[in-house]
């Protein structure tokens, strides 16, 4: 088991108790290594919040998050950052590439906080491989401003995978792309999932994309409801 969520709750306080919004209500979830999962749900249902809690960017009000067998509750800020850096990759609807950095530099940004020089070199080699694999090697020295949306998002995918994370969290990764580019990015993510065994949780509105995942859940009223389990 890679990830286990037990009775996770999250409420956004607004100042008056009546206006408080419960986003997640005693939510539980399990994900195995290499498994892929889609989470569907209407806007404001709490999909992104759930993803941020899983990614340790946000903290649940209650419940427990166990990652790779370790309860993260006792982790320090530093340990959480290290965990995010080495174990988890993020992809968002917007690529969030640093405009001042080239494609290659953007891909290597997650390696900057690393102290392990050998691993850094390994990441650099992987960056080369991945960029070649996705056809961005020629553009490696270009700034994001000169790339297409699809190229930017593919770069963001590679950036998310550069540290060989065990879990890839993806929040509407194709929301700003046309269907052709969107499928290309999904194919890439699944391909890397297969090649590297990286588990994947993807928040999406698109059912056809959700169907490509091992499991599909719907999030409503703060709880997850399994829709299907696909044997890919």
């Amino acid at each position: 088991m890679l990830l286990q969520l037990k009775d996770i709750s999250k409420t956004y306080k607004s100042g008056s108790a009546n206006a408080d919004r419960v986003v997640l209500r005693d939510l539980s979830l399990e994900l195995d290594r290499g498994e892929t999962m889609a989470i569907l749900g209407p806007s404001g249902s709490g999909k992104s919040t759930l993803l941020n809690i899983i990614g340790t960017l946000d903290v649940a009000d209650s419940g427990e998050l166990i990652f790779d067998g370790n309860p993260l509750r006792d982790f320090s800020e530093k340990a959480l950052s290290a965990s995010r850096n080495r174990e988890i990759g993020f992809i968002f609807q917007a690529h969030h590439l640093l405009p001042q950095c080239t494609v290659l530099e953007n891909v290597l940004i997650p390696t900057l906080p690393l102290q392990d020089t050998a691993f850094k070199k390994e990441c650099q080699a992987r960056a080369t491989t991945l960029l070649k694999e996705v056809g961005l090697w020629e553009q490696r020295n270009q700034l994001p401003a000169t790339l297409s949306g699809g190229e930017c998002q593919r770069t963001a995918v590679i950036r998310a995978l550069i540290n060989k994370p065990k879990l890839l969290l993806s929040d509407e990764p194709t929301g700003s792309l046309d269907s052709l580019n969107a499928q290309g990015v999904i194919d890439l993510m699944l391909q890397l999932n297969r090649e590297y065994g990286t588990a994947l949780i993807m928040v999406t509105h698109a059912e056809h994309i959700a169907r490509q995942m091992d499991k599909t859940y719907s999030l409503s009223d703060g709880r997850l409801h399994q829709i299907s389990s696909t044997d890919r």
Binding site: S48, N52, G55, L57, D58, E77, K78, S81, A82, S83, R84, N85, R86, G89, F90, F92, Q93, A94, H96, L98, P99, Q100, C101, T102, L104, E105, L108, I109, P110, L112, P113, Q124, N141, L143, P144, A145, T146, R159, A160, N163, D171, E172, G175, S176
Partner: protein
């Protein structure tokens, strides 16, 4: 919806960023308008001070303190209907409480009822009577007296005879007056401010009755100035002509009497010796005028016989008398037992400038022995010498030279009783002239045949030939001169604009930064408008219209703030910056025209900033604007930066090399070097920022990421660097310029000349104080060494005076004793750098006299430069040209122009003695030495200060100016810090997504804080480094020339403080801005 409505909605919607923009514009408007108001206020104050100190005086008829009839101007009133008043204006000192309180440098003015016509409107007063005085309130406060109290005044005795003329007694040189204070002047009265000198410094005034003063001086109906009231319709030339018409031989101090045999008109002078101008005038009336020169011989010796103290006359008594022959009278022949053909020895004193005596000897062959007949029995050949002519016996003589009473025999007394000063010997005039002519003249009597013209004709001719201007007496337009000096004086508008220059630049950069941030915020709005078909010019016009509204609000706010800024500056000028104005008389004046001017300049500057930045912004294509992505600059544009940088640095180098080699000091070059260097470095930096390193082997590091972030917005980064460069430059440059007095003050090369004390006396000292006999005579308990100078009265051109002085006071220096003292920092080729003081003794082509002065005074006080010529009138009214051949480093002589004392004596022979001294005491205790000096010079009114203190006073003024500069530079740094803060906060806001993604990819918060701090500290450091480098390089030539002694610890402290300030604020703002969660940023908006 129309464009106007859109405009108003935009102004309202973006009110927060508009407010920041308006604040930036308001600051520059406040500084610009405020500086102009300050200038107006100071100028108006100085002008009003002219009216306060002169009352209704428009002209002063004066020159060299020469005395003339007090009634000389009667015809002005009778014929021209112009008011005038005679005054006797003298310097002295006052004491009260039995001499316990003494005040030196007091202006004592003898006035009569006519002075009432010159009082300021609304004021009235009655002139003081005998033994009473009106005094100014500042003096009353110093003397701690009230009306009815008595004070003692001591002043130099005024009179026609030059103080150091041969055989003039040095006794009774000082007059003491005991007067009761009848009135203490109020602030609105002329008595409080009366001063003919162009200065804002309040004088210590005492007014006494003119005829009483005349009486105490043993004079009658004399004045040394005539004050003439408003000219009305009369031109100055008319006034001058009228006075010249009234001018007569009495005013010239000439007496014309018939000779003992009535064959001649004999012309004598009150001044004992007849100067060459008078002789020439007489010769132009009658070419064969006969000159007679009578002198006193110490002794006449022949074969062991000696006759002491005899008068000898040189004249044309025997046409065949050769230069080596002498006629002696029977009495002398008998006394010496000499016969015709014998050779006798004549001993006499040659008298130097400070009464230094050297006995000379000349041998003559007796041609004949003459009897007591005709001119050989004429006691009137002896000049009228007070203390001699009126002496009852030889033992009562006060001859101005040592008289050995032991040598005087009974027969000498008998001769004096019988023949008085009848000469005992006679020589050829030319021989006598070669022996005894001096700077006061070369004759004691001029003879013109009585049958050629009547006495009245002779008087009339002499009056015509010797008009007032021939005596150096002129009608000086003191009011116009005063107003001109006030108007062209220290221009506080320019000064504060100059001092605020970098603050204004900082405000402009901040405004530009704020505006750019504002535009960036509205990037997509502009992009949308462009995409919707709005033309670039339409958008520009809309932006400018919006900017105009903000600009007008900004400058209006700035104008209101300027009034308070002016009040604040005036408060500072009256308190902590009092050193630079030294008058409480400054008042605020707000001129609407100036306000409009200040606001217009500020608005124009604001619109230029808005126009430039909007145009630049709009040049980006609409897609990039709408998408908010960066455009890639073309390679050709990027190449401009290194080329421009090299050009800037090359010109800066040229400017540096020129100022290094220049003999002159040029602040323009200083600023040019600094500004060009900063421009060069910043251009290079901007070029680097805009460069995109894309080498294949480039590996991103944390530092690399910081560097790339710095490049993310090159314009913003450059402005931050520029703000700090400008602020740092000014603060560091000023910090290095501040003058501190150190131990080097003991060095003769320092501004003290190595002297312990600087002393001025109200009454001149007539002797050489280094002469051991004089020290014994004056009862010196502690041996002391003196450098003696003679200062002529003149306007003070030092930094203590805010008025622009045209002809500063002249100081005659003993060049030969000045070697190795003081430091010259600028020079012309006429100045021999190996012996600069020696150069003062060498007359320049065109009869120009070499002069030196403190360089700061040449440059700032006079607004001149080295090599310029100052024009004066000498005592005879002739033009005197002084060429400034050297500039001194700051010295105790600030405000005076220094020439060799021989030239001073030649052109101003009447001025005798010394009144400025540099003193070195052999006693190490300054307190004991000071007491000793005050005791020794108690009758001369010494104004004594430690030389170091005097120098410190001048430095204090300069340092105060520099402090203002530094404070304003500090404000520029504050603006820099504000700019840094705003930019940082804005950058963090802009980059929240970036921060979020970094957090998502595992960056710790401390990493991100550290990145932002490093990024902004790098900009801060770059700015500080650029400013520091520019300051050091620009100041290097001055350091090299020894003009300033930069203090490295001071500079390092300032740099440290700038960096610390930056670190504190950067850390604070980064922590504040990054305190909130940024996770929401990761969601697409």
């Amino acid at each position: 919806m129309n464009l106007f409505r859109l405009l108003l909605r935009s102004v309202r919607y973006h009110r927060h960023s508009h407010f920041a923009l308006m604040a930036g514009i308001a600051i520059s408007s406040m500084v610009i308008t405020g500086a102009l108001i300050i200038g107006d206020s100071v100028k108006a104050s100085l002008e009003s001070l002219v009216k306060q100190r002169l009352g209704n005086t428009a002209y002063s008829f004066e020159g060299n303190d020469r005395l003339f009839r007090a009634s000389l101007g009667d015809s002005l009133e009778k014929r021209l209907k112009i008011h005038y008043t005679p005054v006797m204006l003298l310097n002295g000192f006052a004491s009260s409480q039995g001499g316990n309180i003494k005040v030196n440098g007091v202006q004592i003015t003898g006035i009569d009822g006519r002075f009432d016509n010159f009082l300021n409107s609304g004021a009235s007063g009655s002139p003081p009577t005998d033994n009473t005085a009106i005094i100014s309130s500042n003096l009353a406060a110093r003397l701690q007296i009230v009306v009815g109290d008595e004070i003692l005044l001591r002043l130099e005795k005024a009179g026609p005879i030059p103080k150091n003329a041969p055989f003039v007694s040095d006794q009774d040189n000082v007059v003491s007056l005991r007067v009761a204070v009848s009135h203490i002047a109020a602030d609105y009265e002329l008595f409080e401010h009366f001063n003919l000198k162009n200065t804002q410094l309040p004088p210590y005034n005492i007014f006494v009755n003119l005829s009483y003063l005349n009486g105490e001086m043993e004079l009658q109906n004399r004045a040394n100035r005539l004050l003439v009231a408003e000219k009305g319709r009369r031109s100055p030339a008319e006034v001058e002509r009228e006075l010249a018409n009234s001018w007569d031989t009495d005013d010239l101090g000439l007496q014309i009497t018939p000779s003992h045999d009535s064959l001649w008109w004999e012309v004598r002078s009150d001044r004992v010796f007849l100067d060459s101008i008078t002789v020439l005038a007489a010769k132009s009336i009658y070419p064969e005028v006969t000159e007679i020169l009578t002198y006193m011989a110490n002794s006449i010796k022949f074969h062991g016989n000696e006759t002491p103290y005899s008068f000898v006359t040189a004249g044309s008594f025997d046409d065949d008398l050769t230069e080596n022959e002498i006629l002696i009278n029977r009495w002398l022949a008998d006394d010496l037992n000499a016969q015709p053909g014998d050779t006798l020895d004549l001993f006499y004193y040659s008298i130097g400038p400070l009464r230094e005596l050297s006995e000379q000897q000349r041998s003559f062959v007796i041609k004949d022995i003459v009897d007591f007949i005709g001119d050989f029995n004429n006691p009137d050949l002896m000049p009228s010498l007070p203390g001699l002519s009126d002496a009852g016996s030889c033992r009562e003589w006060e001859a101005g030279v040592p008289v050995d009473l032991g040598k005087i025999r009974d027969k000498d007394e008998a001769y004096w009783k019988t023949y008085r000063g009848t000469p005992k010997a006679f020589i050829n005039y030319e021989t006598g002239k070669s022996l005894w002519q001096n700077r006061y003249g070369n004759a004691t009597i001029l003879r013109i045949p009585a049958d050629r013209l009547s006495i009245n004709e002779l008087k009339s001719e002499l009056q015509k030939k010797l008009p007032p201007e021939s005596q150096g007496i002129r009608l000086v337009p003191v009011r116009d001169g005063g107003l001109a000096a006030a108007r062209s004086g220290v221009d506080f508008s320019q000064l504060f604009l100059g001092l605020s220059f970098f603050l204004i630049i900082a405000a402009i950069i901040l405004t530009a930064l704020l505006y750019t941030l504002h535009l960036e915020k509205r990037k997509s709005e502009v992009g949308t408008l462009k995409a919707l078909g709005f033309s670039q010019s339409n958008i520009l016009k809309m932006a400018l219209a919006e900017g105009m509204i903000i600009g007008i609000l900004g400058v209006l706010t700035g104008a209101i703030l300027a009034i308070y800024y002016n009040k604040l500056v005036f408060y500072a000028l009256n308190t902590m910056w009092f050193d630079i104005v030294r008058t409480p008389a400054l008042h605020e004046k707000i001129n609407p025209g100036t306000m409009v001017l200040g606001m217009s300049i500020s608005l124009m500057l604001s619109l230029i900033i808005l126009w430039y930045n909007t145009s630049k912004f709009l040049r980006k294509n609409s897609i990039s604007l709408q998408k908010g992505i960066q455009q890639v600059r073309s390679q050709s544009k990027k190449r401009i930066y290194p080329i421009a940088a090299v050009a800037f640095i090359a010109i800066a180098t040229g400017s540096f090399v020129y100022s290094w080699g220049a003999n002159d000091l040029n602040p323009g070059l200083f600023f040019a070097t600094a500004i060009l260097l900063m421009a060069g470095i910043l251009t290079l930096f901007t070029g680097w920022l805009r460069q995109i390193p894309a080498s294949k082997n480039y590996i991103l590091s944390m530092a690399g990421l910081v560097a790339k972030s710095t490049r993310r917005n090159p314009a913003r980064s450059t402005r931050i660097v520029l703000l700090f460069a400008v602020g740092s430059f000014i603060v560091i440059a000023i910090g290095l310029n501040k003058k501190d007095l150190g131990e080097e003050l003991n060095s003769p090369m320092s501004g003290t000349g190595g002297a312990d004390f600087y002393m001025e006396t109200s009454v001149p000292v007539l002797h050489d104080l280094n002469n051991p006999d004089v020290q014994v005579q004056r009862a010196f308990d502690i041996p002391m060494d003196f450098l003696q100078f003679r200062a002529l009265d003149g306007d003070d051109a030092s930094c203590l005076n805010l008025n622009r002085v045209v002809a500063p006071g002249i100081l005659g220096v003993p060049s030969e004793t000045m070697k190795g003292r003081f430091t010259f920092i600028t020079s012309t080729e006429e100045l021999d750098l190996a012996d600069p003081w020696g150069s003062l003794g060498k007359i320049l082509p065109g009869n120009v006299i070499p002069a030196v002065m403190d360089q700061t005074v040449i440059q700032w006080g006079l607004g001149r430069k080295i090599g310029d010529t100052l024009v004066y009138r000498d005592e005879s009214g002739a033009e005197l040209r002084l060429k400034l051949i050297g500039g001194l480093a700051n010295s105790v002589f600030q405000g005076k122009v220094l020439i060799d004392q021989h030239f001073l004596q030649k052109h101003f022979p009447t001025s005798g003695g010394s009144n400025v001294f540099l003193v070195n005491s052999h006693d190490p205790s300054a307190e004991i030495s000071k007491e000793e000096l005050l005791r020794i010079f108690r009758t001369e009114g010494p104004e004594l200060t430690l030389a170091a203190d005097r120098l410190a006073l001048f430095n204090q003024v300069e340092n105060t100016y520099l402090s203002i500069f530094m404070i304003l530079g500090g404000l520029a740094l504050i603006l820099g810090t504000i700019g840094l803060g705003i930019s940082l906060a804005r950058t963090i806001l802009d980059r929240r997504k970036e921060i979020a993604i970094l957090r998502a990819t595992g960056f710790e918060k401390k990493h991100i804080i550290s990145m932002f701090i490093t990024e902004h500290m790098a900009l801060l450091a770059m700015g500080t480094l650029t400013g520091t480098l520019a300051a050091f390089i620009a100041i290097w030539p001055s350091l090299h020339k020894g003009i300033i002694q930069a203090s490295l610890p001071t500079a390092l402290t300032i740099i440290g403080l700038i960096l610390l300030n930056g670190i504190v604020w950067t850390t604070f703002i980064t922590r504040m801005s990054l305190g909130k969660s940024v996770i929401s940023e990761l969601r697409e908006e």
